[in-house]
Subunit: 667 residues, 2 copies
């Protein structure tokens, strides 16, 4: 164990394990998780290999092999994906380390659509086959030409009453399905999103179960063209694929008919709520905030531990080089990310809870919370993924040059994480969806209408001014929350007024919206920022934990709030609640809190409790023995298999020979 990091661990003012319990949502959960993770870490078949030394095909094979071994092992436990969601997620996450579960879509979106959008009769036929992996499935929605804008999808499913079949077809190049995970090489079936056409009428997007490969030999079914879409920034253990359908026929019973139906004669029955078919997207998004928090936690763990063993430069002439965590600039890179990771984890727990509440209501036919859930998850998804993406790069660069090496794990983590900004709903579109909800709320408020708790800040008096006099006055979370509410109200109302002015000026609605993206997008962001701070604060106040843990958590809430003000001070100044003098006090208090967090930094990231095997980072090792392991890691790298590389014999030697005898170049 590195002596510096041992010393750091002794400095912490709280017990990291107690914070782990909070982040896991209880001691029982932590113990369960650890027990399950140790099943993986103690099992030789799951011994970690260095992913960055493999090429794409090797990674694909390795990852699939690991997943199927994991499925077998989980079966031995008798787990199923409904009752053992957590157990299976923990197990898989331990197996796959920094990679994503390569069969994620089978067990999430594919299974979910079958369970949630198929009738009970349909489920009788398919559900068991999915649970038992008698077939492999994916969820094929995105096309080459259309992503987030679902209404633009072009694939058609035309009903033929003469045979009682749907004819699935890709009418254009851009209608090819493109991106779905496992579509290229693994799956035998897919849920295909397609425009339902019956009796010559287009009823928009519906879901169809389509077989893509023969179960006997895995060759594509007639009319089906499939393939991998090629290498990507990350996710290279996954065969994201394309699919071209040439008049592929499926039985009528393979349309997902729980909410809308096509009768044998082709008569269409519409669903009770058109938003219902999007519930799979809400599922995906509601999980994102939590997983964003855990991704950022990985980065924060690596950079913080490395900063507690790396020594560089000098602070006091003649003294030994200080740990880089002593530098204020380094603290300003690390601590906001630690605070944000914890904020997102706790906020994500909340959002997951909102989703589960909706699902249980939906089972009883109550879909009333879907619109608010939809718009909340949309904006939060964008807000959280954007912040975390930026944060991960700050953390990587906080490790200097070594962060750029695959040994740091940052290239893998960033590559795997960064598509969250554009998938499951592109972030700008997501923020605009939330903006629509916000503008509606402002209009309701201006008519004296009722506001939900979430939007009650629109009622506050905008002329109020902060009465803080010195830095420590900004330790009051109510003062901070008020500043955030003022800012959100100012921005949301400003954007709405600007929009209204353009509408009064005669612009059509869509054009007026488009003219105000500059105001609507940051308004949406400010609203989400407030939501996260508020939820983070409540989660901390409600947390059942030791006093010392509560104290450091409260400090992080304050720090998160203060840092957000410094980062966005223009918006806070515009709202008028804070003056330039106040912003100055906020900076001073932010600096004061750096000193409070400093001795706890390593303990805080230890509390994320991420096993070295899952982290996959030489820089982030728990034992802090970075340098000897960088050396060891490098020596096993692919180019070092031969001391004198093939390139010498192929290129360098002939070139040197040529040059021996050559007429000299002249300057």
């Amino acid at each position: 164990m590195n002596r510096d990091i041992v010393r750091e661990r002794k400095k912490g003012a709280f017990n990291p394990l107690d914070l782990t319990y909070v982040l896991d949502n209880g001691k029982i959960m932590t113990e369960k998780r650890r027990r399950i993770e140790s099943m993986v870490y103690n099992d030789p078949q799951f011994k970690k290999k260095e992913l960055s030394f493999m090429n794409q095909v090797e990674r694909f094979n390795h990852s699939l092999d690991q997943e199927l071994k994991a499925v077998r092992k989980m079966r031995e436990q008798g787990w199923n994906p409904v009752d053992n969601r957590d157990e299976m997620a923990w197990f898989r996450s331990a197996v796959h380390g920094p990679e994503v579960n390569p069969l994620n879509l089978h067990t999430s979106m594919f299974l979910h659509t079958i369970m949630f959008q198929m009738t009970e009769e349909q489920q009788k036929k398919w559900l068991q086959a999915v649970l038992d992996f008698k077939i492999f499935g994916t969820y094929a929605q995105t096309e080459l030409g259309h992503g987030t804008f679902l209404r633009g999808l072009e694939t058609t499913a035309t009903y033929d009453p003469s045979t009682q079949e749907f004819v699935l077809h890709s009418p254009t190049l851009t209608s090819m399905k493109w991106w779905p995970g496992n579509l290229g090489k693994v799956v035998t079936h897919a849920i295909v999103a397609a425009r339902l056409i019956t009796r010559a009428k287009d009823h928009g997007i519906h879901m169809f179960l389509c077989q893509l490969r023969h179960l006997e030999d895995h060759t594509p079914m007639p009319g089906v063209e499939l393939g991998d879409i090629g290498p990507k920034f990350g996710f290279n253990n996954l065969d994201n694929g394309f699919l071209r359908l040439d008049h592929v026929r499926i039985p009528r019973e393979q349309m997902c008919m729980r909410f809308s139906q096509v009768k044998p004669d082709g008569i269409y029955i519409a669903p009770p709520n058109t938003k219902l078919s999007y519930s799979s997207m809400v599922l995906a998004r509601s999980n994102i905030v939590y997983s964003v928090g855990t991704a950022l936690a990985k980065g924060a763990t690596i950079a913080t531990r490395y900063s507690a063993v790396r020594r560089q430069s000098e602070l006091i002439p003649g003294r030994p080089e200080p740990l880089i965590i002593e530098y204020q600039s380094q603290q300003l890179k690390l601590f906001p990310q630690i605070a944000t990771a914890i904020a997102f984890i706790l906020c994500g727990q909340q959002v997951k809870q909102m989703y589960l509440t909706f699902i249980s209501q939906a089972k009883e036919g109550n879909y009333s919370s879907l619109p608010e859930l939809h718009s909340t998850t949309a904006g939060l998804k964008a807000f959280a993924t954007q912040r975390a993406c930026e944060g991960l790069e700050v953390l990587r660069m906080a490790c200097g040059g070594h962060g750029y090496s695959s040994a740091s794990a940052f290239p893998e983590i960033y590559g795997t994480f960064s598509p969250t900004c554009t998938f499951e709903g592109e972030n700008t579109v997501m923020l605009l969806q939330t903006a629509r909800f916000l503008v509606k709320a402002v209009r309701q408020a201006s008519k004296g209408g009722k506001l939900t708790t979430l939007m009650s800040y629109l009622k506050m008096d905008q002329s109020e001014r902060c009465n803080a006099k010195e830095p420590k006055d900004f330790m009051n979370i109510q003062t901070l929350l008020k500043a955030y509410r003022h800012r959100a109200k100012r921005m949301v109302t400003y954007a709405t007024s600007s929009l209204e002015a353009d509408l009064r000026g005669g612009l059509n609605n869509a054009i007026a919206w488009n003219k105000n993206h500059l105001h609507l997008l940051p308004a949406s962001t400010a609203h989400c920022h407030l939501f996260v701070l508020d939820t983070f604060n409540q989660a901390v106040e409600n947390a059942v934990c030791e006093d010392a843990t509560k104290r450091i958590l409260r400090t992080l809430v304050q720090f998160y709030a203060l840092d957000g003000i410094v980062e966005n001070k223009g918006e806070f100044l515009e709202s008028g609640y804070l003056s330039i003098r106040h912003v100055d006090l906020v900076s001073k208090q932010l600096i004061n809190l750096l000193a409070v967090i400093r001795p706890n930094a390593v303990s805080l990231v230890d509390a994320f409790d991420i096993h070295d095997d899952k982290l996959g980072s030489v820089l982030g090792r728990y034992d802090g023995n970075v340098y000897e392991n960088l050396y060891k890691w490098a020596k096993s790298a692919p180019l070092n298999e031969k001391d004198v590389p093939d390139a010498y014999h192929l290129y360098i030697k002939p070139f040197l020979e040529e040059n021996k005898t050559r007429v000299q170049a002249r300057l």
Copy 2:
């Protein structure tokens, strides 16, 4: 040719080629560059291969092969690296496309050190061998334990007068050289930065030429341990390496002795200026701003062209889907990056000029401009690389999901570009170096001392207020520059006062600096931002070009300035020159300019004149035929070599067989 992009090209109000001349620094240069590029593009031995389909060893081999072919071809032209710097840079950049020149260090830092830090006598022995590639060299400075902080380097070169040799040695694990390009597998020699010890005294870092591999068979020399440091986020065509030296002896004559010497008896003669040995670093940094501009130009070209062919969603119900470039949010992603790329390219030309002036002065013994050059390039390097890194990710995400595919070229461009933030001087350290220069200037100013032109803004009256009344008043570049000067002055003087207060409070200098990073870093950034805007504006005013070109360039200067105010409005408000009302007018004017730039967007990126082969992007193709080429690209991807993958026979089939007969899972 895609019809949408053809229509876009007709909309532009200026001739892209005329802007190309400006960006290339003259029509003659453009024509020369194009002629040289076409030599590459028409030569079958340089036909482009898809890099992302190769593994690390394949890329390394391929890239080296290409470079040696390029060297042979350039020899045929009779070029040399001093008189034909531009020609060779253009040729190599065309050969290597999105990759870096794999032998870059041989022809830059290695050659430069030999030419600039060796005596004429030493050069007689070595220079020709380097020019003729009779040896391969690199520049080995960074160590496992130390990067930017040069004084911390641990490698020693101990003089032994009995044999008149230096003994080069790595005394610790952390003293291993780590990161130098080509060190792992390619080079035979290196310039090694080591602490010179003679007569038992440590004289700090000096440069030594050391042979690392035998010229006969490429095996390492006795006492030399070498290897590749393993895969990285990018640069995977390069064998960045490690080097461990175990008492390796080199003749006294292999110390670079132009400025400091060790006499045969071991007497040390100090250099006239201790900063001189760092001039290789200044060379590297002075090139960065320009190359940052060209990297951002690549990203802007890809995202802008793609936005001019991609259609999505709706603006007017019932009408065809609009091009995504019609969305204001998309314009707000693209146009600031286009303006910034042009700003950096023009500013980079200026910085290169400053460097060349210094070099010619230095040849005559005048080193007076080195300190200002050093601090200017330090901060600018950090400012520009940071902006461009963020900008490239904005541009990638502006392409939605397809930006994440290697087909977009963004993963390659970002991976190759992003280490610029941490190499050749870590950005935070660089900004702090500039801050030191700024604080010194404030102190001089407060004593009534003379200020350089660069710092003359410190003399302005901080109580002045902007008198703009409507958005168009912010078209006046003098008003905009004044706002930037006020902001920079406020931040630089604020940081200095805060620092002085801490010093008066009794803190030692290093501790006081460390307590003020929160203020010093953004002050440095604000100063660099002003420098870029000012230089950009001057370059545009001085540009010899058609009126239409000048008009769009002026618009871009205004847009760059306005966008910078909106992005950093808190800092502008704090300076007091602009009020909240002014910031509002600035936003309005920014939106007004979007409409001016919009029809010119594709023409602007066309003016970067980046050949498709160099861009290497399916999304950024000149002809706009994105979708059919994405499909074609994907079909040739490695996983598609077999329709039914090996993974089926290895993993999927046995698993399906097992599941056929298995007792069913239960929910």
